[in-house]
């Protein structure tokens, strides 16, 4: 759509600007201020310079959390995106069944995140959970509070359970926007099922899939509540992701300075990724997808 140039439009954006400035800019400035100071409570601050940044950069703590975070995000993306597309391809296109599937699939997305954690915490327990009990009955040694691998598997399966529907719904929306004529043309051209997917469905889904991938990446990158409820970051620090570590530091130990430095670096990474996201999205929009 060709938009008209109108700088008066700023007045329409002003309320958003004020509100978000209040809830984002002021807190962010505060974080910057904290990051260069040391405190012992009572609002007594001492200049610390770049000390906290240096400390965080040299400590394994942040790097380990970052490494775990990247592995986590990569794994869930690798599972959720293909699975979501696969589910979307099999969804009924219209009718009551379609509505039923849509609503049922959306359910996990609407559950408070700590309840998601609670559900899986219960579900995976060997004594009272269906999953844990079944696995134990099959003779598999499964205990997510003790075993690192079991803990990882649990939080990944939980995330897949929680969020695959998002990818599926997005892909489904993309699929539904393909005009019938394309499928008809493909039938006339005798294209195989795979070719229909590869040359019609996938290109048409590319736009929404990009949104899905990036949303999932960002959301998994700042995930906190669900894994925290299930494992509390353990066993040991095995499942301590970035946000969990940050909250531990800031609210648990009240180490304002290091936590602020950590926050800023975390935020910078997010900013860089957001920029890539935005650039890719606007370029896709321009191509009319």
């Amino acid at each position: 759509m060709n938009k008209t140039l109108n700088n008066k439009a700023w007045f329409l954006v002003l309320p958003v600007l004020v509100l978000v400035a209040f809830s984002a800019v002021i807190p962010l400035m505060t974080v910057v201020n904290y990051s260069v100071q040391d405190t012992f409570g009572n609002n007594q601050f001492f200049w610390a310079g770049l000390e906290w940044f240096e400390e965080m950069l040299h400590e394994d703590r942040m790097w380990n959390a970052l490494r775990r975070q990247l592995i986590f995000s990569a794994v869930i993306l690798a599972i959720e995106v293909p699975l979501g597309v696969f589910v979307a391809l099999n969804m009924p296109k219209s009718g009551a069944w379609s509505s039923f599937c849509l609503v049922t699939m959306s359910l996990p997305l609407l559950i408070p995140w700590n309840v998601v954690g609670t559900i899986w915490q219960i579900f995976g327990r060997v004594d009272i959970g269906l999953l844990g009990h079944t696995l134990a009955a099959m003779g598999i040694d499964y205990n997510y509070t003790q075993d690192t691998i079991a803990a990882w598997v649990t939080i990944i399966v939980m995330d897949v359970w929680h969020w695959t529907s998002l990818v599926a719904l997005l892909a489904f929306a993309g699929l539904k926007s393909i005009p019938d004529a394309y499928y008809q043309a493909a039938r006339i051209d005798q294209a195989s099922r795979w070719k229909v997917f590869r040359y019609i469905e996938l290109p048409k889904m590319a736009g929404v899939l990009m949104i899905a991938i990036l949303l999932r990446f960002m959301d998994s990158f700042m995930i906190y509540t669900e894994p925290f409820v299930v494992t509390g970051g353990g066993p040991g620090n095995a499942t301590t992701l970035l946000s969990i570590d940050l909250v531990k530091m800031a609210l648990g130990q009240f180490d304002l300075g290091p936590a602020a430095a950590f926050s800023l670096m975390y935020f910078l990474v997010i900013l860089a990724i957001s920029w890539v996201f935005y650039t890719v999205m606007t370029n896709l929009d321009k191509k009319g997808m």
């Binding site: 004529a181 051209d189 294209a191 040359y199």
Partner: protein, 724 residues
């Protein structure tokens, strides 16, 4: 009351959208902005409306500078190409909304809404919502909203472009009438030269953001100021020819000489370009001074009453529009170009022309089929009761192998249903469909070996043009050498050889549609090629090119082709046989000539031809008809007829006269360029007559006479044959 643009121009992000323009529009005039897509029509209109502010210059309305004034305060009305109404309001509220904002009293609003609704034939649907209406009705609602406001400036941006051909024609006649009374300034943007001619008034031709000429429509048409204007204002395209002037003579390409006419006496010597219109090209020596040229014939297209000839004159592509039906296959034809501007003349010679023979390559994989529709009918309901439940009513027909058919009808007449049944995308509720002798009623689309081109271009975006064209062949496991050869051939044919390596994404709509056409054509072994309104997205200028290309392809390969359209010109020029459909029924199948001269049903008479056939209620006795007591001789004798009896007379076969025929009153004379349409009233009924470009219509011509051989008699809508 005038609207004046003073040195107005508009630059958006460094790009010049409108060149500096001066324009004065007077009160009570119809002003047409004519130009191809993106030529700046809409930009100019938005400046007039005040929706955009000019970068430079002023807009003066009634002597007042209104540049930069809020659009709400400008008192203009506008209708868009898309059917823009307020979807959440009823039709009544839609029409009433501008008046409510003006603060008019309730009874006043009610009166005017009902008045306008009646004028726009919306009275029955005031309580419905716009989206429940058909496209034509939606646009009528938008027009009503623009009209009811009594605005001094009414802007219409291609208001009829998205409507069916016949509907467009009807509204086109209505609009000048409706707006004549209003006394406002009307500005009407269009891409079609014919529409500009029908609307009359003034025309401004636009090309790349520049107004190339502004003046009374017939004058701009007859004396275009430059070649660009001429090109913009001609459909079919203007023909061009190189000339050289030396002293008092003009020399043409092949050594023809001609004394320079007086008008050109002052012209300095040099090389020039002569332009002449399609209808000034004849195949016979029509007057002694006509000049003769020899040209090769590419394609002929028949419209029923006229013939388009596409010629190649030493690399120049010429189009001729010739009266009558001329089958040029073995006809002895001489062609004479007479360009009005130069009033050329020449001696005559004869020349044989031949239509390129329909080549049937003796290749093994070439298969074509005779398509038989046996007792076919379809209903979208699972349990159809009455005939009305059928979208397609019972049909028996054989489609000949290798012929080109057109399915013609308005939206919702069942033509797409029929096409989908043939292509196998739809299973008929009854009957069979046979390709040659094989029953394919339940065969899958892929098994039927057909190709189809859809209304909107279907291309595989991520593939290159080459891969797109190769796709159907590769899917059938053809070897790469063969694929490369075929793709090369097809690419040459559709003129895309130079962009084979490009990705299909990002190409223009008509390039994409060409790829779709090419993909349909790439397989030699198809039984039939189906086209579903393939030229919808194409600009008028391109339509000519693509249509002739299709026609050429048909001659070269001889595939059975079925072409669905609502545009009679497309149907008539494309097809050997046209199938006219109405309300789920096939009303007539025939050659363009048959449809034109002997419409089997009054609907065919109305639908084909513009304007359509005139109908007169009459009583018929033997070979004389009585219309309101006046006798009309008929070419044939008729027995006693039952039901409603009407005479059907094409405007082309009626002529005005001073002393013979029935008494008429002339209402309007429309100069449409190559002919005149005379709107008259005959016994209180509308009656159209077509007169030649050069004929003069005198005020004393108060009678109309018919050619008895071309008067058809209808009983209850169906034609009665009669005996010679």
């Amino acid at each position: 009351m005038t609207l004046e643009l003073r040195g107005v121009s508009r630059i958006v992000e460094g790009q010049l959208h409108v060149h500096p323009t001066d324009l004065v529009l007077e009160k009570g005039t119809m002003n047409v902005l004519l130009g191809p897509t993106l030529s700046g029509k809409t930009s100019l209109m938005r400046l007039m409306a005040g929706l955009d502010v000019p970068s430079v210059g002023q807009v003066i309305w009634q002597g007042k500078d209104v540049t930069g004034m809020r659009v709400q305060d400008r008192g203009v009305a506008m209708v868009y190409q898309q059917f823009i109404n307020y979807p959440s309001m009823t039709v009544y509220d839609n029409i009433a909304s501008p008046m409510r904002l003006l603060g008019l009293s309730k009874p006043e609003i009610d009166r005017r809404v009902r008045e306008t609704a009646e004028l726009m034939k919306l009275d029955g649907m005031l309580e419905r919502r716009p989206l429940e209406l058909s496209g034509g009705q939606q646009q009528r609602c938008a027009l009503a909203r623009a009209l009811v406001k009594d605005a001094g400036l009414v802007l219409l941006d291609e208001p009829l472009a998205n409507l069916d051909y016949k509907l467009r024609e009807e509204l086109r006649v209505e609009i000048p009438k409706i707006f004549e009374a209003a006394g406002s300034i009307f500005v009407y943007a269009t891409t079609e030269p014919e529409e500009a001619l029908l609307l009359g008034g003034n025309v401004a031709t636009l090309w790349e953001g520049r107004v190339t000429q502004f003046g009374p429509t017939p004058r701009v048409y007859r004396c275009p100021a430059d070649a660009t204007t001429a090109r913009v204002f001609s459909d079919p395209p203007m023909n061009f020819l190189a000339v050289a002037k030396t002293g008092a003579s003009l020399a043409f390409g092949e050594g023809q000489q001609l004394p320079a006419p007086e008008a050109l006496a002052e012209l300095p010597d040099g090389r020039y370009m002569a332009g002449f219109r399609a209808n000034h090209l004849e195949i016979r020596q029509h007057r002694p001074e006509a000049l003769r040229f020899t040209a090769g014939l590419a394609v002929t297209e028949l419209t029923g009453s006229e013939t388009f000839v596409h010629l190649d004159h030493h690399g120049d592509r010429w189009v001729g529009l010739i009266h009558g039906v001329h089958d040029l296959e073995m006809a002895r034809a001489s062609m004479s170009g007479s360009t009005r501007a130069m009033s050329t003349s020449s001696a005559r010679t004869g020349r044989w022309w031949r239509r390129p023979p329909t080549r049937r390559p003796p290749e093994e994989d070439r298969t074509m089929a005779r398509i038989t529709l046996d007792n076919l009918a379809h209903s979208y309901q699972s349990n159809p009761q009455t005939e009305d439940d059928y979208a397609l009513k019972e049909l028996n027909h054989v489609w000949e192998d290798g012929a080109a058919y057109a399915l013609l009808g308005s939206s919702g007449c069942g033509k797409s249903t029929l096409l989908n049944i043939i292509s196998g995308l739809l299973q008929p509720s009854q009957g069979r469909i046979l390709f040659d002798d094989r029953d394919v009623t339940h065969a899958a689309t892929a098994e039927r070996n057909i190709a189809q081109v859809f209304q909107f271009p279907v291309v595989y975006d991520t593939m290159t043009v080459h891969d797109n064209l190769a796709f159907p062949l590769r899917n059938r496991g053809r070897d790469e050498a063969y694929v490369a050869e075929r793709v090369g051939e097809i690419a040459r044919m559709i003129g895309m050889e130079h962009m084979l390596k490009r990705k299909a994404r990002g190409l223009t709509a008509d390039a994409k549609q060409k790829i779709s056409l090419g993909r349909g054509m790439v397989r030699k072994d198809v039984n039939a090629l189906l086209f579903d309104e393939p030229l919808t997205v194409i600009d008028p200028h391109m339509k000519w090119e693509l249509r002739t290309q299709l026609k050429k392809l048909h001659h070269e390969f001889g595939h059975t082709m079925i072409y669905v359209t609502h545009d009679q010109t497309e149907a008539l020029t494309f097809a050997d046989k046209v199938v006219v459909m109405y309300d789920g029924r096939v009303v007539q199948i025939g050659t363009p000539e048959e449809l034109f001269e002997r419409p089997e049903h009054t609907f065919v008479g109305y639908f084909i031809g513009s304007p359509g056939m005139n109908l007169l209620p009459a009583e018929v006795e033997g070979n004389v008809a009585h219309v309101h007591g006046a006798a009309v001789p008929l070419g044939r004798g008729y027995g006693p007829l039952s039901g409603k009896v009407e005479l059907g007379i094409r405007p082309e076969f009626a002529r005005l006269s001073r002393d013979e025929g029935l008494p008429v009153q002339i209402r309007r004379v429309e100069d449409v360029g190559r002919h005149k349409i005379i709107r008259t009233e005959l016994f209180g009924q509308e009656f159209n007559v077509i007169a030649g470009e050069d004929e003069t219509v005198g005020a004393d011509m108060a009678r109309v006479a018919f050619d008895p051989a071309h008067v058809n008699v209808y009983a209850d809508g169906w034609r009665v044959a009669g005996a010679a």
